[in-house]
Amino acid sequence: MTETVSHAPDDLTEFPMPRAARCPFDPPEALRARQTEATLSRVRIWDGSTPWLVTRHDQVRALLADPRVSSDVTRSGFPHISPGSKAGSEVRRSFINMDDPEHSRMRRMVTAPFAIRKMQALRPEVQRIADDLIDDLLAGPKPVDLVQAFALPVPSLVICALLGVPYADHGLFQRHTKVLVRRSSAPEDVSAASAALTDYLDALLAEKQAHPEEDLLSDIATRQVATGQLTRQQAARMGVLLLAAGHETTANMIALGTLALLRNPDQLDVLRAADDPKTVAAAVEELLRYLSIVHSGRRRVALEDITYAGVTIKAGDGIVLAGETANRDPEVFPDPDRLDLGRDARRHVAFGFGVHQCLGQPLARMELQVVYSTLYRRVPTLALATDIERLEFKHDGAIFGVYELPVTW
């Protein structure tokens, strides 16, 4: 069988490990080295604790789907991502960090708008949003920061429409979300940003309760809050989660994906030439796999002893699941470091796996399909307006990406 890796406690690699500056799209070398080891291993995180690190595709999927593994951030041993996320975990707690049956009860309250048919109905609206922003982009000065001009507004406008949040408030929610997703944010700043966002959603829910409209927050206010299935505080936290996750992740996929495509012009040509939705859909799956923007590991804690691959994870041990190495596992994706829009990448774990797999994935897929099939065709000469070495990457973010992407055409 496989052997346990037993590093001396002061000999452990710190996690997350830094990516190499010259290959910003690839997982850190030290992390990839763990994948070739035959078993689970330990790492040290910011608070000195030493959770298990899981890097292989089969192990990541198995453990994410294992009911003996908990997402409950209030459990002792939970390997928090940063001091800020630990400090804010109680006030931010929503179904994403609860276990079944509570998780499932609350998640099902908000699955309806993400059904495939609803996404198909929303597609023309997303297309219009993308086209309008590109019109503005082409009419404006260049170079321009694609993050501010396009990547962030597209998913922000869409999630605002879906939830019923006024887009005019985007400065407020984008500013606070930025604080939430930075690992280096001070705990008091994270708590303040969480409180500000929750208060904002709470006030919005009160308004929707009095004057409901055709949107998800009105649904939650009139169905779940009014009937006592959720407190308004719980509903507000849920709103924060949907609003933050709904714009920050997709925005990074758009900007980072564009950079990756500009670095791989033959693959960019595949998207420009694609006249078939299947080709575009496959390209989106490959970019999700290749970029794997959730790069600080999905965090869990063991509820009971779990023996896996010859190693026993003890009850109360933290577990860090590295999706970016799972998605570069050569056992599942041959030649994994190659961006190949023609490959079948559907088994990626970019949205996670198990019962917590991303709620918004049908929305994210549709948005990315619209964006990737529109932007490069309408701006065929799109080019990076700076050296890649000058770009600042989100190394300290829970989500990987670029802070700015200066482009011209």
Partner: protein, 64 residues
């Protein structure tokens, strides 16, 4: 091939509907609905892939 779905397990990822729309659908809440428990052979690959990517193991396959 015989297909069964476990609706209480479903987390509405929608991937089965994208892969095999003749076999799977969703109810108003996004929860899986089985359209064809005994799909014809041309759908078998897509149904197998649907079961493989289902994050909640809500799709079960049995030979027939």
């Amino acid at each position: 091939m015989h297909v069964e779905v476990d609706q209480p397990k479903c987390v509405a990822s929608g991937q089965c509907v994208l892969l095999a729309p003749d076999v799977f659908d969703q109810d108003d809440d996004g929860i899986v609905e089985l359209l064809d428990a005994d799909p014809s052979p041309e759908h078998h690959d897509d149904v197998r892939e649907s079961a493989a990517v289902c994050p909640a193991a809500a799709i079960r396959l049995a030979p027939r």
